[in-house]
Amino acid sequence: MKAIVKYISSIFSALKTLFKGMAVTGHYISHPKEIITQQYPENRETLKMFDMFRGEVVLTHSESNEHRCTGCSACEVACPNGTIEIINKRIEMPDGKKKKVIDKFVYHLSMCTFCNLCILSCPTDAIKMSQDFEHAVFDRSQLTKVLNKPASKLMEGVR
């Protein structure tokens, strides 16, 4: 007799635990306001990344197309993966002196691990992380970028 009582009570307690679980899911289906899905491409306008977000490395340019990169290669040394290549050239200044400036700031996005070490190492705050995260392209070669804009110059007073 005891066994039968135990048998039946075990069934009821089992059913009770099952209903408990169903109550949780039942709560959510009856509260559609708790839905957390974001409709991504549609909400592009309202989707704002945090200021700190590390999207990709960019070289900041002022309105007069001037940047702050002196071509010191500190970022190239700091980078663990060889993501950054700095190609320098020598130009003749108006006063006849020769000066070293960057020719190309090459950035291989495909190799970047977004570790932020280059930004920290930059002595002139020339580069920063942008918040752009849509990096998908159809051709891998498009991921190799030249960060300095054409005909850009070194900002006055940065050395």
Binding site: K20, M52, R54, T113, F114
Partner: protein, 377 residues
């Protein structure tokens, strides 16, 4: 049973034979690219042989070429669910070599973020565990709460998973002004949602049948196999590095080391759920009064560790993570060894899975909480 079955036509015993199944490298419940060779009789497992190395990148070799600051970003990519703790281990080992003491602010922030990372890892584990059992809904609930933590990380350090927030000598940035507010809001939110986890799975009769008494690991075996973390603690092996070798701000906070004696899958589950409560209590103790001060100690641009050997262990979400640095005085280590918890935990899998059903193997693997890059390194 198979031995007694006979052919009804000839009266001779039926021939049975063991057969092999490759579970993985592409399989939903191996959580990555783990390959298990199963030897089966019917549905009963006779032997499990893990084949590793599908994503072995030889991080230890890479570290021999990198500077100490560069090494840290590689540790993100081992156990990516406890990336902050891995970073912390390397940072602490280097700081130990440099003999610098961290400011209180750094210690407290490191501890808070470590516990947040542990919470997020356990939440993801809970969701995936439910999914492995066939209750797919838990996956989404776990991710909902994890998302809040990930947002906190993103606001403070700019990355969601591979954070690289620790640097030798402190932190990369100071915390965001919203950090305290968001963290408090999260703890408040999660204190309400965690009981829901219990309602959905813990008490469920099917869940208990599937986990209780499955994959028992005795305390002696846990120690011998070096099974650490929640998995080891569920077997009664007291191994919490936060208690035994406290680092950062752990000496100042009060928390319990969650221990259970059963050593089965249910115990491992309960230990992790209980650890989430403990983590929240640690965060609550620290979040109100983050000391003012520097977030970083000034170090040389290129750190050179004095000649010697340094071993630092931390408690990650999966267990004891160790960094063993042999320095010859240069800017990169002569030899660097990562003692990853997943590798040791996996070595006990065959021992635990002998004689169980295929469905139980999935449960055991899930409660071991394996992260494959952590094993393969």
């Amino acid at each position: 049973m198979a031995e007694t079955a006979t052919n009804t036509n000839t009266g001779k015993p039926l021939e049975t034979q063991e057969y092999f199944i490759n579970m993985g490298p592409q399989h939903p419940s191996t959580h990555g690219v783990l390959r298990l060779m199963l030897t089966l009789e019917g549905e009963t497992i006779h032997n499990v042989e893990p084949h590793l190395g599908y994503i072995h990148r030889s991080i230890e070799k890479m570290c021999e070429k990198d500077t100490y600051a560069q090494i840290i970003h590689l540790t993100d990519r081992m156990d990516y669910l406890s990336s902050h703790m891995n970073n912390e281990a390397v940072s602490l080992a280097v700081e130990q070599g440099l003999e610098v003491e961290m400011p209180e602010r750094v210690k407290v922030i490191r501890t808070i973020i470590s516990e947040l990372t542990r919470l997020s890892s356990h939440q993801l584990w809970w969701g995936v565990f439910g999914m492995d059992l066939g209750a797919i809904t838990s996956f989404l609930y776990g991710f909902r709460d994890r998302e809040m933590i990930i947002d906190i990380f993103e606001e403070t350090c700019g990355a969601r998973l591979t954070m690289n927030y620790n640097v030798p000598g402190g932190l990369m940035f100071d915390i965001h002004p919203n950090f305290q507010k968001r963290t408090k809001a999260f703890v408040e939110h999660f204190r309400q949602k965690l009981p829901e986890y219990d309602q959905l799975l813990t008490g469920n009769v099917i869940f208990e049948m599937r986990t209780k008494g499955i994959g028992i690991l005795s305390k002696e075996d846990a120690i011998s196999f070096g099974v650490t973390g929640p998995t080891g603690r569920a077997s009664g092996f007291s191994n919490d590095v936060r208690k035994h070798n406290p680092y950062s701000a752990y000496p100042q906070v009060e928390f319990n080391e969650v221990l259970r004696e059963e050593g089965d899958s249910y115990a491992r589950y309960k230990v992790r759920i209980q650890e989430m409560w403990e983590s929240m209590s640690i965060i609550e103790q620290l979040i109100e009064n983050i000391p003012e001060g520097d977030y970083k100690v000034k170090t040389k641009a290129v750190i050179k560790l004095p000649k010697g050997e340094y071993y630092q262990k931390v408690e990650t979400a999966r267990g004891e993570f160790g960094v063993y640095i042999i320095s010859e005085g240069g800017k990169s280590p002569y030899r660097l060894k990562f003692r990853s918890p997943g590798f040791s935990n996996l070595s006990a899998l065959n021992h635990m899975a002998k004689g169980v059903k295929i469905a139980d193997l999935v449960v055991i693997m899930s409660t071991l909480d394996l992260v494959i890059p952590d094993i393969d390194r």
